[in-house]
C-alpha cells in the first residue's frame, strides 16, 4: 500500500541514513557529492539531483528546484540541487535532506580540519626536527670551534718553531723579546743567549746599524709610510753576512707602541741569483745588439717585448713605440707575389704548430712604407719547467741575396739558351758573310743613283737586320766575350740613338754629361744595347712621346744595390713616358723569350742583359704602370791611359804591300780578296793553315813578307788560323794578323793577343769594318782618309 502524500516512509529515511553512513567511505568531496546526489535522486518526488559549486542564497529562485546548501559556519561546499517533480511527495523529506546536507558539510569540514591539522602537525614536526638538528649542529660546531682554537694555537706555536721565516720581537730598547728557532739557527746563537740582548749588537753589521736603527725608530714612531718590506744584512756569530727581507709592524698595548715584531726571510741566494740574472741580461742585451740579424721577442700573447737595433732599423719601429704592440703590426709580412698577409711563424708557434727549423720569406712592410725582402725563423722561449713563455723571431734582409740569386738564375738561363743558339747562328752567320761580300762587291760596281744600286742598298739593310738577329743569338753563345775597344761613349750613344730613332716620329732629348767617361766595350754589342733600349722606349709610346737619354760618370764604392765592383762607370739612362711595365712582370723583362709584345721575339732585353753582364756592367729597370719606364745601364769606364791612346787612334785606313787571306770557304776568300784589294793590298788567298804557312815562308824568302794576314780560325778537316799563327808569327813577327770567325764568342776574337794575333773580327763584316780594324792596328799610309783625331 502506497503511503499518502506528506507521510514519511521508513525505508526512505533508512536510505537517507545509509547515504550519510556510507558517504564517509568515499575519499574525495567530489566522490561524496556524486554518491549523495545519486541517492537523493531516488527520493520520492525527486526527478534529478546534482551538486553545484554555487553557494548563494538562491533557494526557490527557480520553480521545481530545491537547493540544499552544504555549509558549516563560514565554510561552504556548494549545494545539492534537487529537481522536484512531485513536491507533495518530496515535502516530508525536505527537512531530512537539509539535515543530510548539514551532516555532509560536517563530514567535509571535519576532513578539511583534519587535513589542516595534519599539515600543521607535519610542519610542526618538521620545525621541531629542524630545530633539533640545528641545536645538535650548534653544539657540535661549538665543540669543533673550541677544538679548532686549541689546534690553531698549537699549530701557531709549532709554526713559530718550524717557520722558514725569522720571527723577532723587540722591546722599545731594541732588546730581543722573541726570536724563533729559525732566527737562532741563522745567527748561530742559542735562544737563551739571544733573549734580552740588543738586536743591533747581536745581529746587525756595524756599518749598517745606523740605517737599520733608523728604520726601527720609524716603526716605533708608528710611521705608516714605511715600505712593506725592507731588506738589510745581518751578521752571524761566525761572521758571515746574510741578506734578510723584513716585514715590520709595531706592537701596541693600550694604544701605545711598546716594541716591534718583524718577520724576515733569508734572501741571500735570491739576491745572488738576481745579480747573476742582471749580469745575464746585460750579456744577452750585448749579444742582441751585436747580432747582425733582426731579433724580436714576444710574450705568449704575441706582443712585442724586446727588439734589437737591427730589428728597429729594418722595421722602422723603435722599441719604445713597438713594445706591447701585436707582432703583426710591427713585423707586417706580405707575400711578394700576391701581397696577401703571411701568417707569421710566431702566430703559428703560439697556436701550437711545429715551426722549428722553418723559415718564411716575404716582404716586410716597414713603418715608413718601404718594403724589404726578409727571411725569418722563430723559436719558442721556454722557462726552466719547459713551459712556453714567448717566442723569439730572428730575421734578416735578403733583398741583396734575392737580387744576386735572380742575377745568377738569369745568367744560367742565358747560358743554356746561348749553347743552343750559338751553333745554329754560326752557320747562318757564315752564309750571311758570303752574301754580304757579294752584295758589297756588286754595290761597288754600280754607279750612284742606279736602280740596281738602290736595290742593293735595301738588300744590305735587310741583311743588316738578319745580321743583328744572328748577333743577338750569338751574344748568348758560350764564351761570347765582347771584342773590346776603347770607344767614346758619347759617340757611341749619339750614333746608336740616331740609328734607333731613324724613321720614328718620337722625339729624343740627349743629355750627356761632360764627365761621361770613355768605355772599353764591344761597340757592336753595346750599340745593340742602345738600339734595343731606344727601340723599346719608342714602342712603349704608341701614341708618340719623347725619349730621354742621359749619361754621366759615376763612381761606385761598393755596398750599392748593384752587383758591381767598386770603380768608375758610365751610367746611361733611357727613359720613356710610355705604358710602363706591370709590377708582377717587371723582374722578368730580362728573361729570354719573355715579351709583352705580340710580334716580339723576347730577345731584345735579354740580349741587353747578356751583353752588359759580359762587359762586367749592370742593367736595371724602374717602371710605373701608365707612367713609363727607365732603363739604366752601367758600363765600366776605360782605364785612363787606354782611353787617351784611343782618342789618338786613326779613324780610317789605306794600306799597301802584301796581304794573306786564309779561309776554306771559296766565296769568303774571294770577298776578302776584293776588300783588301780595294784597301790597297796585294792579296794571296789560301784555303788551309799549311798553305798559309808555306805562303808566308815563301813571301819572307822573296823579301816581301805579308804586312797583313786575315785568317779564319777554323778550317774543316785541316789546320786553321788558330794552329797556324804561331808558325806564321815566327816567320813574320811584324805581320798584323787579324783572326776572323763566325763564332763571335770565340775567345780568340775577344782576346786575340793571347793567341798570337794582333786583332780579331767577327763574321760577317763589311769592308769598312775591316778597314776600321786595320786602321787601329796598322801604321797609317799616305792617302788614308783618317788620321789622328782628338775629339
Amino acid at each position: 500500500m502506497s503511503p499518502a502524500p506528506g507521510e514519511l516512509r521508513a525505508d526512505i529515511l533508512a536510505r537517507l541514513l545509509l547515504i550519510q553512513s556510507t558517504a564517509g567511505h568515499l575519499p574525495t568531496a567530489t566522490g561524496v557529492m556524486e554518491f549523495v546526489c545519486r541517492g537523493l535522486a531516488q527520493l520520492p518526488g525527486v526527478a534529478h539531483a546534482w551538486h553545484s559549486e554555487a553557494h548563494g542564497d538562491l533557494a526557490g529562485s527557480e520553480p521545481g528546484l530545491e537547493r540544499f546548501p552544504v555549509r558549516l559556519d563560514a565554510h561552504h561546499y556548494g549545494e545539492m540541487v534537487l529537481q522536484v517533480s512531485d513536491p507533495a511527495q518530496f515535502l516530508p523529506y525536505s527537512p531530512h535532506v537539509t539535515n543530510l546536507a548539514f551532516m555532509v558539510a560536517v563530514m567535509l569540514e571535519e576532513r578539511r580540519r583534519r587535513a589542516l591539522e595534519e599539515v600543521h602537525q607535519g610542519e610542526l614536526e618538521q620545525r621541531v626536527e629542524e630545530r633539533t638538528r640545528q641545536l645538535s649542529q650548534e653544539v657540535g660546531d661549538r665543540r669543533a670551534a673550541e677544538a679548532l682554537a686549541v689546534a690553531e694555537r698549537q699549530r701557531a706555536e709549532a709554526y713559530l718553531e718550524i717557520a722558514e721565516a725569522i720571527i723577532v720581537e723587540l722591546d722599545e730598547e731594541a732588546r730581543v723579546v722573541v726570536l724563533n728557532k729559525r732566527g737562532c739557527d741563522l745567527l748561530g746563537v742559542p735562544p737563551q743567549e739571544a733573549l734580552g740582548r740588543n738586536w743591533f749588537e747581536l745581529a746587525i753589521p756595524p756599518e749598517d746599524r745606523v740605517a737599520v736603527r733608523a728604520v726601527f725608530e720609524r716603526v716605533l714612531a708608528g710611521q705608516s709610510e714605511l715600505p712593506d718590506y725592507y731588506d738589510n744584512l745581518i751578521v752571524t756569530r761566525a761572521g758571515a753576512r746574510r741578506a734578510v727581507a723584513w716585514h715590520n709592524v709595531a706592537l701596541r698595548e693600550g694604544g701605545r707602541v711598546v716594541g716591534t715584531r718583524s718577520s724576515g726571510l733569508d734572501i741571500t741566494e735570491r739576491k745572488q741569483a738576481e745579480l747573476a740574472l742582471a749580469a745575464e741580461k746585460e750579456r744577452l742585451a750585448v749579444t742582441l745588439r751585436s747580432i747582425g740579424d733582426g731579433v724580436i721577442t714576444t710574450d705568449t700573447a704575441g706582443r712585442v717585448v724586446e727588439m734589437n737595433q737591427v730589428a728597429e732599423d729594418l722595421t722602422g719601429w723603435p722599441l719604445q713605440a713597438a713594445a706591447g704592440r701585436p707582432l703583426e703590426e710591427v713585423f707586417a709580412l706580405v707575400d711578394a707575389a700576391t701581397r696577401e698577409p703571411i701568417r707569421s711563424l710566431t702566430e703559428r708557434a703560439s697556436a701550437g704548430e711545429p715551426v722549428a727549423g722553418q723559415r718564411i720569406q716575404g716582404l716586410l712592410l716597414t713603418r715608413d712604407g718601404k718594403e724589404r725582402a726578409v727571411a725569418d725563423s722563430v723559436a719558442p722561449i721556454r722557462d726552466r719547467a719547459g713551459a712556453t713563455i714567448g717566442t723569439v723571431l730572428v730575421f734578416r734582409d735578403i733583398s741583396e741575396r734575392l737580387r744576386l740569386l735572380e742575377h745568377l738564375t738569369r745568367s744560367q738561363r742565358l747560358d743554356a739558351i746561348g749553347l743552343l743558339a750559338g751553333g745554329i747562328a754560326h752557320d747562318f752567320n757564315n752564309l750571311l758573310g758570303g752574301i754580304f761580300g757579294y752584295i758589297d762587291e756588286a754595290r761597288s760596281l754600280c754607279k750612284e743613283g742606279e736602280p740596281l744600286s738602290e736595290a742593293l742598298d735595301r738588300s744590305m739593310e735587310t741583311l743588316d737586320r738578319a745580321r743583328d738577329l744572328t748577333r743577338q743569338l750569338l751574344t748568348f753563345s758560350k764564351g761570347g766575350a765582347p771584342v773590346r775597344r776603347v770607344v767614346d761613349t758619347r759617340t757611341l750613344l749619339e750614333r746608336g740613338v740616331h740609328l734607333a730613332l731613324s724613321g720614328s716620329a718620337v722625339a729624343c732629348r740627349l743629355d750627356l754629361a761632360p764627365d761621361l767617361p770613355w768605355v772599353e766595350v764591344d761597340p757592336n754589342q753595346v750599340g745593340q744595347v742602345i738600339d734595343n733600349l731606344v727601340r723599346n722606349a719608342v714602342e712603349a709610346m704608341p701614341g708618340g712621346g719623347k725619349v730621354d737619354v742621359s749619361a754621366r760618370g759615376l763612381t761606385l764604392h761598393g755596398g750599392d744595390h748593384l752587383p758591381l765592383a767598386p770603380g768608375r762607370y758610365a751610367c746611361v739612362e733611357v727613359r720613356d713616358s710610355g705604358v710602363g711595365i706591370a709590377p708582377e712582370v717587371v723582374t722578368r723583362v730580362f728573361d729570354p723569350f719573355f715579351t709583352t709584345k705580340a710580334e716580339g721575339a723576347g730577345l731584345g732585353l735579354a740580349t741587353c742583359y747578356s751583353i752588359v753582364q759580359r762587359h762586367k756592367g749592370a742593367i736595371e729597370v724602374e717602371s710605373q704602370l701608365g707612367r713609363g719606364s727607365t732603363f739604366r745601364v752601367f758600363l765600366p769606364a776605360a782605364p785612363e791611359g787606354r782611353a787617351e791612346a784611343a782618342q789618338l787612334a786613326p779613324a780610317g785606313h789605306r794600306g799597301s804591300g802584301e796581304a794573306l787571306v786564309l779561309d776554306d770557304e771559296p766565296y769568303l776568300r774571294a770577298t776578302l780578296t776584293k776588300m783588301l784589294s780595294r784597301l790597297g793590298y796585294h792579296v794571296t788567298a789560301v784555303a788551309t793553315g799549311e798553305e798559309a804557312i808555306e805562303a808566308t815562308r815563301h813571301a819572307v824568302a822573296e823579301g816581301t813578307p805579308f804586312s797583313v794576314a786575315v785568317m779564319d780560325l777554323t778550317i774543316v778537316g785541316g789546320m786553321g788560323g788558330r794552329e797556324a799563327i804561331a808558325e806564321i808569327r815566327r816567320l813574320a813577327p811584324e805581320v798584323v794578323a787579324i783572326a776572323s770567325s763566325g763564332y763571335s764568342t770565340d775567345p780568340v776574337i775577344s782576346s786575340p793577343r793571347e793567341f798570337g794575333f794582333t786583332a780579331g773580327i767577327a763574321k760577317p763584316f763589311t769592308g769598312p769594318e775591316l778597314a776600321q780594324v786595320l786602321a787601329h792596328h796598322s801604321p797609317a799610309q799616305p792617302g788614308s782618309d783618317g788620321g789622328a783625331t782628338r775629339r
Binding site: D11, I12, A14, R15, L18, S21, T22, A23, G24, H25, L26, P27, T30, G31, V32, M33, E34, F35, V36, C37, R38, G39, Q42
Partner: protein
C-alpha cells in the same frame, strides 16, 4: 529447493543470514576488508561449506596464518576441494573481458559441485576490481549483480561482494548498492534500503 530456510554465519557480522544471501560491503579501510574476508572464509570452512575467494588483496601468508589461527590448514582445505581461491582478474576478466553469463554459469557450477559433494552449503567472497570500468563487458556489471540475485534463489550460494570506495566514483558506489539486497554497515548486515529487486528492474 525445499523452501527450508537455512541460516549461515558470515563470520564478520553478529547476526546470521539466510543461505543464498547477496551482501555488499563498501569499505575504505584495508584492514576492514581483510578482516571480513578471512572471517567469512574460515567460518564457511568450519561449517563444512564449499568456500571460494576471488581477490588480489589477500596473500598466501595471510591465509595460512589466519587459517592456522582458526585451527585450519590451508593446504588441507585446498586438497579436500572445499577451498579455492584465485585473483579477481583471473576469474572475472578471463580472456580480457567481463562476461556475466560465464560468471553466472561458474556460480551455478560451484553450487552444484557443493551439493554433489554433500556439503551443507556454499559461499563465495569476491572483490570487484576498478578495472571493470575499462574492460570490455564492464558496463554489464550492474546487470550481472542483479542476475546474481535471481540465480541465488535457485542456487543458494552465500555471496559477499567487496567494493573499495577509494577506487570507484560515488555514482558507481550508489549504483552498486541498488543491486545488493543486504549490505554491511559498521559490522552489521542490514537490509539495503536502496536495493531494487531484479523483477522491478525488469519491469521498470
Amino acid at each position: 529447493m525445499n523452501g527450508e530456510q537455512i541460516s549461515v554465519d558470515l563470520g564478520f557480522a553478529k547476526a546470521q543470514v539466510p543461505a543464498g544471501t547477496h551482501v555488499c560491503q563498501i569499505f575504505s579501510d584495508s584492514d576492514e576488508r581483510t578482516d571480513a574476508l578471512l572471517r567469512f572464509l574460515t567460518r564457511g570452512l568450519q561449517a563444512g561449506e564449499s568456500t571460494a575467494c576471488f581477490s588480489e588483496n589477500v596473500t598466501e601468508q595471510e591465509l595460512e596464518a589466519w587459517f592456522a589461527k582458526e585451527g585450519l590448514s590451508l593446504a588441507a582445505e585446498r586438497a579436500s576441494g572445499r577451498f579455492a581461491n584465485s585473483p579477481t582478474k583471473q576469474v572475472y576478466f578471463q580472456d580480457g573481458r567481463f562476461d556475466p553469463d560465464r560468471m553466472l554459469a561458474l556460480l551455478t557450477q560451484f553450487h552444484l559441485a557443493s551439493v554433489a559433494a554433500g556439503r551443507p552449503g556454499a559461499r563465495v567472497i569476491g572483490e570487484m576490481s576498478p578495472e571493470i570500468n575499462s574492460i570490455p563487458g564492464g558496463t554489464r556489471l550492474l546487470e550481472y549483480e542483479s542476475r546474481v540475485n535471481h540465480l541465488l534463489q535457485a542456487h543458494p550460494v552465500t555471496a559477499v561482494c567487496q567494493y573499495d570506495a577509494r577506487c570507484f566514483d560515488g555514482a558507481t558506489i550508489m549504483d552498486v548498492l541498488t543491486v545488493h539486497p543486504m549490505m554491511v554497515i559498521r559490522g552489521a548486515v542490514v537490509l539495503n534500503p536502496f536495493y531494487v529487486a531484479p523483477e522491478t528492474i525488469a519491469r521498470g
